[in-house]
């Protein structure tokens, strides 16, 4: 669908925004994006967003971290420079495993959390020096903006809906301009 114009509705309350999103989607109008200064609880469900797959990547990164930690503790403490751990010089990884559990745990969490955050940034193209994509600077402060691209014929209906659902201001942008 070719859209002629982009409409922005500015809201100043998250509950108002949530009910507006639900209302507008009920009318069958697709919402392109909502900009918010903080994560709004339930907004992903209201927008009908696809379930995130970050959880799956977190699990894979966790396994990766666990595997790395197992290799690292074995290489450092058993193979390369065998250590006497707690007066139990057995020099096997298995029998000294309890001593390594904190390391296994920490590296699992470390890899899972950091690589997940990196994945999130890459996936959203939020690399250093990226230009801000939010249409209105107030969305980094205390306002919420809903973005809807419409054909010229639908414009009055969307504007009316914005007004009805309590939008503070409505902005219009022509893609060509």
């Amino acid at each position: 669908m070719r859209s002629d114009k982009i409409l922005y509705g500015l809201y100043d309350d998250e509950d108002l925004l949530l009910s507006a999103v639900e209302r507008i989607r009920r009318e069958g109008i697709p919402i392109d994006e909502v900009y918010s200064p903080f994560p709004v609880h339930g907004l992903d469900k209201a927008l009908g967003l696809q379930e995130t797959r970050l959880g799956i990547t977190a699990f894979i990164y966790g396994l990766l971290g666990l595997g790395f930690a197992i290799w690292m503790t074995w290489y450092m403490m058993i193979y390369d420079w065998p250590q006497d751990i707690g007066g139990k010089p057995s020099f096997t990884w298995g029998e000294n495993m309890p001593a390594f559990v904190p390391i296994l745990f920490e590296l699992t969490v470390f890899c899972s959390a950091h690589l997940m955050a990196v994945t999130f940034l890459v996936r959203n193209a939020m690399y250093p020096g990226a230009r801000a994509a939010n249409p209105h600077p107030a969305t980094t402060d205390d306002k919420f903006v809903m973005e809807i691209s419409v054909r010229a014929a639908d414009e009055p209906q969307v504007v009316a809906l914005f007004k009805e659902t309590g939008a503070l201001a409505i902005h219009l942008k022509n893609p060509e301009s």
């Binding site: 609880h41 339930g42 751990i85 707690g86 139990k88 309890p98 001593a99 559990v101 904190p102």
Partner: protein
Amino acid sequence: MYRIPAKLRLFAVLLMGIGVLSVTYGFLSTPKNMAAVQAILAQRSAGQPESSAGVHYDEAQLRQAWHQMQNRPWAAVLYSAFFFTAVALAVLFFYAVQIAAEAGWSAVLLRLMEAISWFVPVGGAIILVVLFCSAGQLNHLYHWMVSGVADPNDPHYDAVVAAKSGYLNKPFFLLRAVVYVAGWTAMLVWMQKAGLALDRSKNWALFRRYQTRAVVFLICYAITSTTMAWDWITSINPHWYSTLFGWYILGVVFPTAVSALAIATLYLKSKGYMSYVNDSHIHDLAKYIFAFSLLWGYLWFAQYMLYWYADIPEEVTYFLSRWRDYRIAYFTLLVLNLAVPTLVLMNSDFKRIPFLVAFSGLSVIIGHAVESYILIAPEVVGKNWHLGVVEWGSWLGFLGLFIWVTFTALTKAPLSASGNPYWKESESYRYG
């Protein structure tokens, strides 16, 4: 108002009957004299490989084995009574936390929590009976209670126990036990009264009073939950030290308490009561089961690893007796209490499926029941243990009593705490 179905009442009475019968059987089947003990030990070593067969026992060993066999039914009663009482108490703790924190999600569950908490006086009274019998030398559960243990001229003298006799002496021990049970019961009544007053008049000042009482209980619980664990469990083995034992017991009873609460909620919901409980409430309960099972795993491992690493003789004896004589049961705990709840409830959607919540809740309950047994048994029953008719029978008997007390208490007050200022918020609670 809730009414107990006749079937549930019958089920509870049946379980109690099983409990009474199996504990009676336990007491009747203990050997009556040393000759019988010798016969049992000889029979047991007959099935062993050559090396251990025909071992000769001297009189002290025989007497110890006899005492352990006599302790078996007592240990079965004590661990079951302790398990259910501590779980009911943890439910009361959870209840007080909800009120003190002005939690919005949980108001629909408050009356059920109150009802479960009513097991505290009942189970506490049974614990008191066991403790008074111990003090009267009717059993050998607490070896520091043997007379002369603090007297340097007595053959029973024990320097470690003597050093602790300022705290571990019979009158103070029994006084503390009575104060715990009476105090918890009084505070339960006290909090419940303030809660019921809200039903009659919706007054914010009344809620503040309710909240103050909950905070007072929480402070008392913070102290008594630890000292109760020292008194009733750790003092069985007064030579052993653990600096996180109170926490550990909280880690045992808290996920169990939330599991019991979740299963009771799901049961009532399936019978058509508490229709205002939605899957978001179940989701939250499941999150508590998940999180506190991880806490238990963390505490279990923290305690184990430090002792394993330091390898101090007086500390490792605790784990050695569990490793030698209770190995399979002891390590099954990690599966039932940690692996099952964390792996099953990790997925957000699974926390809303009643079957999976009940399944992992049941796993946690059974796992921690076995654990409560292993907290007590290695010291008092030693090698002469068996998770058999007496132990499970006693546990089932207490389960029957627990069900009976809980659902009877549930009929005493309206199921919905609709006077609570957070009732509306809780009723319309939606997560995600």
